[in-house]
Symmetry: C2
Subunit: 228 residues, 2 copies
DNA sequence: GCGATGCTTCGGTTACGATCGAACTATGAA
DNA sequence: TTCATAGTTCGATCGTAACCGAAGCATCGC
């Protein structure tokens, strides 16, 4: 029996805790080596190696050899979206690996979600963009308005460049901590990049959280106000 | 270790072949009994029972007791979307359970996807609605136009009723056989229902395919033309 | 009450796959 | 060349979870 795609294969791939941890870590967007991934998975390198091979064969991971290192990333945006949508679903059902830890608050405030900003700040940014009329929310979709395009130019983002990529400009992404949407897509990526470039924020070494500087915090809150 | 939602749990739930088959069968939208699900899973009822309990505990399934039967459905639209997005991803990677079988062509032509029309006909319908200006495609999102609302009234669908539900009116859903989008959301559901009510099409007993009558076929193709 | 049907729980078996130690290959540095 | 680091492959072990037979509830029809 049966017609249709084989869900069980990729389910099983994601279903192993060690592999799931590695995938979640790669949600952070940066490429990691096999040894680093063994660390986040809590397993030895040999074991990690076989896991990584399976994930790559399953189309979830891509690797790039560089010298004697092997850097792994999520295969593409589709893979990233799958993982993120599973995180959203899992969070909605209370399937949390709740070991609160000290990094938690920072993670809820602002973190990276593949290549864009998530957490409280990510949600706030999208809300603000919609409230100001820079983005229209239509059904599930998001569309940049003319006003939005002008506003963005003011902070140094040229939307024309972004449109040339095949990737959608705006996409909404469900936030597992806030359970509300934040902005993904090439525009989401560009915005985060600009914050990092401006020195408003920086990525932390070992976690997916994003640390805003005092000045960056001030600027961000000014740029994306929320009226309650 | 780790912060964040536990992907591994639901991954493992979906990762078992028997469970995956049951979930895929429920993608057909209709409620199935435990014994029926045991059949599609290819296992005995005892085993199915434990699987179903796990799926329910995991928030993927909901059950409704009715007499001495227990009817299972996907827990909600979020669960359905997760399964469908996994099917889309799996299909894109060529993870097919290819046992072509005789039902395949019918399935590719028209099938039910949770509660709306998918397959060749589903894709065609959305394409046609966009081409005629009834629906605007904006980024990832779909929005019904005024013209669309009028057109729909002509075939007996009152959009006002649909808007009252909290569920989004239009949503695009990736088709695993066509690898293109078709129309989901409450409007997608309403359209399929109207085809069934009109007698243009009927659901088959054991498969997810939808059979159009000769007359239904003619009407459908007239209503949703594609100019090539 | 009775048996029949639908489903769950229990107990024991079995198989698959995750795991690691050890040996092996590849790249880089000295 | 030799040593060190990064990663893979092999072989063997071990745990977990899927599985089914049998027994136990629950609900229906009579």
């Amino acid at each position: 029996m049966k017609e249709g795609p084989d869900i069980a294969q990729i389910g099983a791939l994601i279903g192993d805790p060690a592999r799931a941890n590695m995938l979640a870590a790669l949600t952070g967007g940066r490429a990691l080596t096999a040894t680093e991934l063994a660390g986040v998975g809590g397993i030895t390198v040999q074991t990690a190696s076989t896991h990584l091979a399976k994930l790559e064969a399953g189309g979830l991971l891509a690797q790039r050899k560089q010298g004697r290192h092997r850097y792994f990333t999520l295969a593409d945006e589709a893979a990233a979206r799958l993982i993120e949508s599973m995180m959203g679903f899992a969070a909605g059902r209370g399937h949390l690996r709740h070991r609160p830890g000290p990094k938690e608050p920072a993670l809820r405030k602002a973190r990276i979600c593949y290549d864009h900003l998530a957490g409280d700040y990510g949600v706030r940014m999208l809300d603000s963009l919609i409230a100001s009329g820079a983005i229209d929310a239509i059904g599930d979709g998001l569309a940049l308005t003319q006003k939005g395009e002008n506003d963005l130019k003011g902070i140094g983002i040229d939307v024309g460049d972004l449109r040339s990529s095949r990737r959608p400009l705006c996409r909404s992404c469900l936030d597992w901590s806030e359970r509300r949407a934040h902005l993904a897509g090439s525009l989401g990526k560009a915005l985060l990049s600009s914050f990092l470039d401006k020195g408003w924020a920086r990525r932390t070494a070992e976690s997916r959280s994003i640390m805003f500087s005092q000045e960056g915090d001030r600027q961000f809150l000014r740029l994306f106000p929320v009226d309650a």
